[in-house]
Symmetry: C2
Subunit: 226 residues, 2 copies
């Protein structure tokens, strides 16, 4: 069930695929904060009926990616500096704990997944470093998958799910701020890999905290978030 924008099961039903499209459009900033989500419009944009769309919007409302005020319909959740800071803090808390547990329980299978995920991410980061900015989304997907791989042995589906939900909200801010700070982030990712292989959870947490805090400050410096 811990599916997300990044690793999704084949969308079987109409509603499911429209859900994934809309969610991804919000997380990747193609639907901007505050954007009114009028049903008629969505109908043509996502090819689903009003009833189905309302089901989807209700789901996204639960996830706090969409707000629904009274009978005024739906809109993409707004952003704020305070909210970004809260999300970042929560990510540090959840991911930090998950890292500890995962490092403790991770076996060789897990190490393999981590190394593989880091490899893909690092490759992508090389390209990005050379100015090729055409794969920002793909890059973020690999970023997500790397962090997810790191905690994948934590043993708690609850923790993984909650982390994924928070991570996506964090990601939305990064996409909105279009913030690329490739080199620094890449180094931090390499450090995390090192920590994982050495099972040094304490240092991993320290790196993670820096990683997330850096992302926040960088995003804020772009001035796109108010």
């Amino acid at each position: 069930m811990s599916d997300d924008v990044h690793v999704m099961p084949p969308p079987s039903t109409v509603g499911e695929s429209a859900y994934q499209k809309i969610r991804s459009d919000i997380v990747f900033g193609r639907l901007l904060p505050g954007k009114k989500l009028k049903l008629e419009r969505l109908k043509t944009d996502y090819g689903a009926s009003v009833s189905t769309l309302r089901e989807i919007l209700n789901r996204l409302h639960s996830e706090r990616l969409v707000v629904a005020e009274g009978q005024k319909g739906f809109e993409v959740a707004p952003v704020s500096i305070a909210n970004l800071r809260e999300i970042a803090a929560l990510r540090q808390l959840l991911e930090g704990r998950a890292l500890e547990q995962s490092f403790r329980a991770g076996d060789m299978e897990w190490e393999g997944r981590v190394v593989a995920a880091h490899h893909r991410l690092a490759r992508m980061e090389e390209r990005m470093a050379q100015g090729d900015r055409s794969h920002t989304e793909g890059w973020k997907r690999y970023d997500w998958q790397f962090h997810q791989a790191l905690i994948s042995a934590c043993g708690s589906k609850m923790l993984i799910d909650n982390h994924a939900a928070v991570f996506d909200k964090y990601l939305r801010y990064q996409m909105i701020a279009l913030s690329y700070r490739g080199d620094i982030a890449a180094n931090e990712h390499a450090e995390l890999l090192e920590c994982a292989l050495e099972r040094d959870a304490a240092r991993a947490c320290e790196v993670l905290t820096r990683h997330v805090a850096g992302g926040v400050e960088h995003a804020l410096r772009t001035g796109t978030i108010s």
Copy 2:
């Protein structure tokens, strides 16, 4: 927005009130785990149309209180020992962090809220201790409100929301197990109040951990969870 089964805004719309009823029926164990939620049945039970009910079920699905498998409709989320343990651990993590922050930031206003909430809870616990088991739900509501009051000054809506979501899942297990361990819990609540007034976050976390762990073991001992 951090509304819940315990402090809800007046249900303005039809869908909203049906949502609250169904959610509360799940959390308080009136709808048991695994129960099939057939639309026609819900229609008569909660007085809402299929479309509205589907919106509600989709919301509850996001909240992981309901599962929706393929085209097989909806049912109340199952329970398991592993899931209970994960929930408890997450509650300890979130509530512990929130306590620390709340204790640091709490002012006199906050102290008042905490004292008031504890008073109501303690009174209720007195009654329960005398064998009056008719207010179990009310008791749990006060329990919720006390813990909520303790963390209410933590300064993070995100944290409060996430905690509330986890708390309600924890609560569902308590209700399903019908576990009343009044005296012990009451003492722990009193201890927490003490810690709050002394701003002793470390000890509060220690008490909380014991509190939650105790609840889990007690619930498991009833044998109602498999």
